[in-house]
């Protein structure tokens, strides 16, 4: 598959009163056409800031994209003027958020909101846009779609609003859908509905997706590639089966071991816990950001930052940033 987007050496910082927050630190990766990339990482690891940087939505100040390129179908998005970027957003790249109300306007009925995008990006007439809007609501499983076009966002339940937002996001057949924790606030049965829906639409429309979540289970079910972020960097990345089956970064390994499984009885064993707390993004350590919590940490981890490189004896697609080979299993704390 051809490369759809390439992120190169992206660095984003926030200049706050409390200090400089190093939110995204030298992030590079390709995204292929039709590929679904799942991004996981703990709160504050730079997942949202990195996609907001791609979309040109970083509040400046305090934020600043310090360096990098985002090549999307040949153009560097970071160099586009704001009007040009507005045309990319919504048409070629669409985004859905955790809180649908960040993209829905509470004082306009949903029909108006969907048809506006269709008229702006696709130059549709009123009638054509209305018909299409009803089709879109129908496509995301909202019954009685024509009538619901007159409804305001508050007249929908949480799960339905999420679907309205998805309908809006997909209205112009984007090449890339970026989803930032779109199901985190929803119940699991509703989450399952939304994920089924998005998977079906993705396959029908042949979109690429970036799906941000903290739920490794969601990534396992939806993504082709997983990317694990820690301290504003990619610490591990690769095909999902390879990374889940053979995790190489101590953080990924720790996360997977700390999770109990629905399909297994683990009552008589203790969960493996990751010690310590997430890093303060104002202080960039010289070495690996995970070192203070890492059971495999060696002297070099404290001195020098490990580069993201192909995992030993891996497929070549599987990358990891760690000086230690976790398969050898030498943990310092025993």
């Amino acid at each position: 598959m051809a490369v759809l987007m390439e992120v190169k050496n992206l660095v984003t910082r926030f200049y706050t009163q409390e200090g400089v927050v190093h939110a995204v630190n030298d992030v590079s990766y390709p995204l292929h056409e039709g590929e679904t990339l799942g991004i996981v990482g703990e709160s504050g690891s730079g997942k949202s800031v990195h996609v907001l940087s791609i979309m040109g939505l970083i509040p400046t100040p305090p934020g600043k994209i310090e360096q990098g390129e985002v090549l999307f179908r040949g153009r560097d998005l970071l160099k586009l003027k704001s009007e040009e970027m507005r045309l990319v957003r919504g048409a070629e790249i669409a985004m859905i958020f955790q809180d649908p109300m960040t993209s829905l306007n509470p004082v306009l009925n949903v029909g108006t909101q969907i048809t506006e995008a269709l008229k702006l990006h696709l130059g549709m007439s009123n009638t054509a846009a209305n018909t299409r809007a009803a089709e879109l609501l129908d496509m995301v499983g909202i019954s009685d779609a024509r009538k619901r076009l007159d409804n305001y966002p508050h007249q929908f339940s949480g799960g339905m609003r999420q679907r309205v937002m998805i309908a809006m996001a997909l209205s112009c057949n984007p090449k890339l859908l970026i989803a930032d924790e779109p199901t985190t606030a929803l119940d699991v049965t509703i989450q399952a509905q939304i994920i089924e829906l998005v998977k079906r639409l993705r396959d029908e429309l042949r979109m690429a997706m970036i799906w941000i979540t903290h739920d490794l289970g969601v990534v396992a079910g939806i993504a082709d590639t997983i990317q694990v972020m820690y301290g504003g960097r990619i610490v591990e990345r690769g095909p999902v089966k390879e990374v889940f089956g053979d995790p190489r970064h101590p953080y990924t390994l720790g996360l997977l071991k700390s999770l109990p499984r629905l399909d297994q009885n683990s009552k008589n064993s203790k969960l493996v816990q990751i010690e310590g707390a997430p890093p303060d993004m104002r202080y960039m350590p010289q070495g690996c950001s995970f070192a203070p919590r890492c059971p495999y940490c060696i002297e070099r981890s404290l001195q020098e930052r490990p580069p993201l490189e192909p995992a030993k004896e891996g497929s070549g697609q599987h990358l990891v940033a760690c000086w230690v080979d976790v398969r050898e299993g030498v943990t310092q704390s025993g």
Binding site: S43, M160, V188, T189, I190, A192, D215, L255, R261
Partner: protein, 329 residues
């Protein structure tokens, strides 16, 4: 296994009135948040309580602790009926029952030091006449939950989420309770921190012989930590039994759908799964359906499910209870 009930809940109801009118307020309906719930919690066990948002888990926990006055029903704790207990007696009994909240940020007073937060219940119940002894005890508690006693004079905002949850746990432990309601104690925490708190809760249970009512929506974690589990739907318990039994052999169609919706962090297992995708949303507890509460979303509903009375919770297999006309016609 000791099957002595520490807590017995019978016919518990909690309805919140819906009022209308500004000057002359009158009740126009009720939110049936908890609607005729029956369960026991055995001494030393962890009973999980799961179900979707708004199904009444927190209200059940709070009504059991008499933080809300029940609309009807009985709650027997350590042999005493709580619902009719005089205020002073209830206050004494409260020492034995504590609650840990979901949000470690909202539940701690930002203007109090950690030391005063943890010792507050000790002061209220006048446990230590001697200040020095009280401080030593608080330091011991901090140490026990994994907080450095050196930080006793710091404020909550100086701690991380996981540490704040530890402060809440230390406060709940201060009066040496026998029963703790843990209302989503890990939902607000990062995945990497959740295991720390769960391991701490199970160590403390061992050490102090605690009994937990563990409210959660992380069904995988519930399987790990709970001996038995109650599944709630729209104010009612629809299934109750040993955790492994309920997870491996769910009887209620709602439990089946709920479990099948939970993602598993394993791409190979995920690719093989058969999901029961429910349509629609949970109905409003102010206007529950006629008949079985689940009939609007149930994949296997039939005539009987649409008529009152709704299916009662019956013991379909030893220790495994279910409320469904399909299972027990």
């Amino acid at each position: 296994m000791g099957r002595e009930a520490l807590l017995q809940v019978r016919g518990l109801k909690k309805y919140f009135p819906i009022v209308s009118g500004i000057v002359f307020q009158r009740q126009v309906g009720a939110v049936k948040a908890v609607d005729d719930v029956n369960f026991d919690v055995f001494k030393g066990e962890t009973l999980g309580m799961v179900g979707e948002s708004g199904c009444g888990k927190s209200t059940t926990g709070r009504t059991v602790l008499q933080l809300y006055k029940p609309t009807a029903g009985s709650v027997i704790f350590e042999g005493r009926e709580l619902t009719t207990l005089p205020a002073e007696e209830l206050r004494k009994t409260r020492k034995r029952m504590q609650i840990i909240f979901q949000d470690p940020f909202a539940s701690l007073n930002p203007r109090m030091t950690v030391g005063s937060i943890i010792s507050e219940p000790l002061v209220i119940h006048r446990m230590f006449p001697n200040k020095r002894e009280q401080q030593e005890y608080v330091e011991q508690l901090m140490e026990r939950v994994g907080l450095n006693p050196f930080y006793i004079n710091r404020y909550p905002h100086e701690f991380s989420g996981g540490q704040r949850q530890r402060i809440g746990i230390a406060r709940a432990l201060a009066l040496k309770p026998s029963f703790i309601v843990a209302d989503e104690p890990i939902s607000a925490l990062d995945v990497s921190i959740q295991a720390q708190v769960i391991n701490l809760l199970s160590d403390l249970q061992q050490e102090f012989g605690l009994t937990y009512l563990f409210i959660a929506h992380d069904l995988s974690m519930v399987r790990h930590i709970c001996d038995r589990v109650a599944v709630m739907y729209l104010g009612k318990i629809v299934e109750l039994g040993q955790t492994d039994e309920v997870y491996d052999n769910p009887l209620h169609p709602y439990t089946q759908a709920l479990l099948s919706a939970v993602p598993i962090p394993d791409p190979i297992a995920e690719a093989k799964r058969q999901r029961v995708i429910l349509t629609g949303d949970v109905p409003s507890p102010a206007r529950p359906p006629i008949g079985c509460n689940f009939n609007t979303r149930c994949p296997v509903h039939f005539d009987l499910c649409h008529h009152d009375p709704d299916p009662p919770l019956v013991e379909a297999q030893p220790g495994h209870w279910v409320a469904c006309h399909r299972v027990t016609p």
